[in-house]
Structure formats: C-alpha cells, structure tokens
C-alpha cells in the first residue's frame, strides 16, 4: 500500500532522509519514532506529495509518479485521513462544519448523506454533544478528537497522524491513543509519527526508528541497508504486540 524505495530528501545542504526503504500493507500500523529533526514528518510530507523525493520512489496505493499533477495530488489526499499535531481545524466553523468539510471535499456523497456521516464520526470520538461548538471553545484533547473525526469521516484506507499527542496532557493523550487504536482495529491502516515511545507501544504499531534522516535500530545504530524490516501480521491486541519493536521495525 505504501512503499518507499531508496528515498532520500534533501533541503538545500541538509539531508532530511537518507536512502530510506520501507513498506506497509493494508491494515497495518507503522510508527516512525525518533527525536525532533530525525525526518519523521518528512516521511508524511512525502506520502501526501507535499514534497517530492530528491531520489528514490514513493508509492502510495496506485499513485507512484514522482510529481503528481495538482488534480491527482488532491485525489491522493482524499484517500488519506490526516491528523496534525496542531489540529488544523478551521476556527471560523463549528466542529460539525469542520468534519462536514471533509465530506464535501471528498465529493462522493449526496447532500443527504453528509449529516449522518458527520454525526457518526462525532459519536465515534465522543463529541456528538459538542457539534455546534467552535474549536476555540474546546479543550486541546477535544480539538484533537475533532481532528480525528475529520480524518476518519470518509473511512480512508490510511490514516496519517503527525505527533497527535504532543499538544495534549497525559490523560487526553491516552484517550487519543485509545481512539486511534480502536480505529486501527476496525481496519484502517495507520502511519504514526511520534517522539514518544509509549504512544507507539500503545498502538501496537511496528516501529521504525529514525535518527538524523537515517534508519537506525532500537539501539540507535545506523542500519547500513536503509531498509526497514517487513511487517509482522497486523494485530489489534496491544498485548500481543509486546516486544514487536525490533531493529528497524
């Protein structure tokens, strides 16, 4: 479903990603774990075609061209659900309108389907009673749940989460992780980027360690091949995933 083949990305003189190769199948959960500046967010930006690789090839589903036309890029993004660390909700709209916007952008659903889809998504994240609230009226945890509702409302095949708990205090962070775990167990593939080990473990995700743009093992040693180990079969029970974070994934 998502494949990176010898992908490098350079920003001027800085090498943000160095010869990274990894693959994930449908229904998998992968967590990119590493300190700030290790290239984790660059991976997400390559998946969404916000940037193009300096070398190598990125394949997302059936999208594999090096540079997509604007229309195809928009189409790709509509197949993904994206959660940002700063939520990126529209402050001039209610939570309902924010989630409904994703439905309208998808353009696949009739007008009469919008309300039930949005309400279902809000119920899944526990915000159905706050549908008419504006983002500024919600706590950080609630805003992140609203962002999750927006990401899942169209039932995407893949959900990308960029540091979804970084702006949250402990309890809210745990709630968000539990929510993501439940969503993943319902079949959505998940690519998570985080600096927190406990978040990756909480999801039962296959962990890929990055440091300074390079693939490293769990001890921080650079892996010369730059290839993350293939996935084990996806699990929905985190207890079965204990010890699943091996060298390079």
């Amino acid at each position: 479903m998502i494949t990176f083949e010898n992908v490098s990305k350079r920003f001027g003189e800085r090498l943000a990603l160095d010869n990274l190769s990894w693959h994930m199948d449908e229904g998998e959960a992968v967590a990119f774990l590493g300190p700030n500046g290790s290239g984790k967010t660059t991976v997400l930006r390559l998946i969404t075609h916000e940037i193009q690789p300096s070398s190598g090839k990125v394949t997302v589903g059936t999208f594999h061209a090096r540079r997509l036309r604007r229309g195809h890029r928009a189409l790709l993004r509509r197949t993904l659900g994206i959660i940002y660390e700063d939520f990126r909700l529209l402050n001039d709209r209610t939570i309902f309108e924010n989630v409904a916007l994703a439905v309208r952008i998808a353009g696949r659903f009739a007008n009469e389907e919008v309300i039930p889809r949005v309400m279902y998504a809000l119920e899944e994240v526990g915000l159905q009673l706050k549908q008419n609230a504006f983002p500024a009226e919600l706590s950080a945890g609630e805003r992140q749940r609203a962002a999750i509702a927006r990401a899942i409302v169209n039932r995407p095949a893949v959900i990308l989460a960029d540091e979804p708990t970084v702006a949250l205090e402990k309890k809210s962070a745990e709630e968000v992780v539990a929510l993501l775990r439940r969503i993943h167990s319902e079949g959505a593939a998940l690519v998570l980027v985080t600096t927190r080990r406990e978040v990756a473990d909480g999801l039962g995700a296959r962990i890929i360690h990055l440091d300074d743009g390079k693939l490293v093992d769990s001890d921080g040693q650079v892996m010369p091949s730059g290839v993350a180990a293939p996935a084990r079969p996806p699990v929905s029970d985190p207890s079965l995933a204990a010890g699943s974070s091996g060298a390079g994934g």
Binding site: T48, E50, G71, I82, R88, D92, I105, R150
Partner: protein
C-alpha cells in the same frame, strides 16, 4: 452543493468586509464613470432619432411647373423617398408672414417671391448623411425641381457627434473593464492570502483547486453585480435630478441596464479566474 459554495462565498464576504466594501466602492466608481458616458450616448442616440423623424428635405419647384407635372413628381418622390407634402406659394407666404410676426413688414413687397415646394419626409433608411446626399442629388435632377435643401451641415455634424460619442463610450468602456479586472484581480488575491490558513487546510484535505476557487469567484461576481446595481441607482438619481432641467433626458432601457450588469459580472468572473489560477498555486501546499 451549490448552496455550500454560496454559503462559503457569504462567509468570506462577511469575514473580510473591509476588503469587500473597498472593492465594491472602487467598482461602483469605475462603473458609474462608464455609465455616465453610456447614458449620454443613449440620450444622444434618442435625440438624433427624434430629429431624424423630423428631418425633411425641401424640394423647391420651378415656377412653370403645372399641377399635373407636380402631381406626377409627388407620386414619384413618395414611391422613392417617403411621404410628400405640397406647400403652395401662397402657403409658403403665409408661413413666412407668421414667422416674421408683423405682416406690415411685408406690405412693401409687391409680389410673392417664394416658390412652391414639396416637403419630403425621408424614410428611416435614408436618414444617413450619405443617403441624404444621394437623395438630394437624385431629386435635383428632376426637371421640375429648382433646388433641394436639407441642412446637410447639421446632419453631418449630428452623425459625427454620434460616432464620436460611441467611440468615446467604447474607449471608456475598455478602460473601465481593465479597471474592474485590476480591482477584482487584486481583491481576490488579497482575500485568498488573508484566508491562506483555510486554503492550506482545504488543500491538505484534498480539495481541488475548483472546490477552493468557486466561492471566491462567486464572491467576486457578487461584488461586481452589487457595484453595477449601485452605479445604476446613482445614474438613475442623476437622470431624475437633471430631467427637470434637461428636457427629454431618459434613463437606460432595461436591455442596456441588464447588459451593463452582465458585463460587469462577466469581467469580474474573468478577473477572479485569472487571479485564482495564479494565487492558488502559490498558496496550496
């Protein structure tokens, strides 16, 4: 979905009222200037048509024309050029006396020197300088005709004035269209840049350029339409105010007014599309 776009356009208009009102004000000023010239041109056309209705060619007859020859000539001229009225020497003398106002002034004149004449009311198709020149020449060649007069100088002048006004209106119209293009183009650019965070989020969620652009285009068209109606209202006020002093000053007919509004909206649409095709590429991630 169309309701969604309209709501988005309304939301953008509300959130950037200052920018929107500035655009409407500027567009109204530009359109009013164009509207003034359009109004002047239309009124000039109306007046010239009215004058044209009264345009007559006076055909002076030779003194030795017999009644039967005159009747044959009247028939020919009616067939070729339009309705003909016969003014006898006596009628001409009476008209002249009335114009003078004091019949005693004419007592010293022993004989009536005025010739009989035919007043030819030309058909509308002949009311152009070229056609009138030709008609006068042709009528002058009849043997019964002494002379033909029709005020060729002011006919030419009126038509020149009309042509100049039309050219002026077109020139001003082009300048105003460019002004509208400029105003709307920059307003849309500024509006998109002001809404950059929203545009970026929509782009990241997979919105196409069309999805993002339609509300802005609708907003631009609304602003231009509003400005056009305001300028028409201003022009109407001016026309009503002046019509007491300037007899016969009329407002634009409905078709002109609709075309005026339509043209403003059309130019705004074009300007918005041009602006968005450039600015969305710069803003969207």
């Amino acid at each position: 979905m169309h309701l969604f776009y309209l709501r988005e356009a309304a939301r953008s208009f509300r959130q950037h009222r200052g920018l929107a009102y500035t655009a409407v004000f500027s567009l109204t000023a530009a359109l009013t200037l164009s509207g003034v010239l359009l109004l002047l041109t239309h009124n000039a056309e109306v007046q010239m048509q009215a004058l044209g209705d009264r345009r007559e060619m006076v055909v002076y007859l030779r003194d030795d024309v017999t009644p039967s020859q005159r009747d044959v000539l009247v028939g020919r001229l009616t067939d070729l050029y339009g309705p003909v009225t016969y003014v006898s020497k006596e009628d001409a003398w009476k008209d002249f006396s009335k114009q003078l106002g004091d019949p005693s002034l004419l007592e010293a004149v022993p004989d009536n020197p005025l010739p009989a004449s035919l007043r030819v009311k030309l058909r509308p198709a002949l009311l152009t300088p070229g056609a009138m020149d030709l008609a006068a020449k042709q009528i002058g060649e009849f043997p019964e005709v002494e002379d033909v007069r029709y005020g060729e100088e002011w006919v030419h002048r009126l038509d020149q004035i009309g042509a100049t006004l039309i050219k002026g209106t077109i020139a001003v119209g082009v300048v105003v269209a460019l002004a509208i293009l400029f105003i709307v183009y920059n307003t849309i650019r500024l509006t998109v840049l002001a809404r950059r965070p929203q545009v970026e989020i929509m782009s990241r969620l997979g919105a196409t350029d069309g999805f993002i652009a339609v509300p802005f285009v609708l907003e631009a068209m609304f602003e231009a339409g509003l400005a056009a109606f305001l300028s028409l209202a201003l022009l109407f006020g001016v026309q009503q105010g002046l019509s007491a002093r300037v007899v016969g000053l009329v407002f634009l007919p409905p078709t002109y007014a609709l075309a005026f509004v339509g043209a403003a909206i059309g130019v705004a649409w074009l300007a918005a599309m041009l602006a968005l095709s450039r600015v969305l590429r710069a803003v969207g991630p």
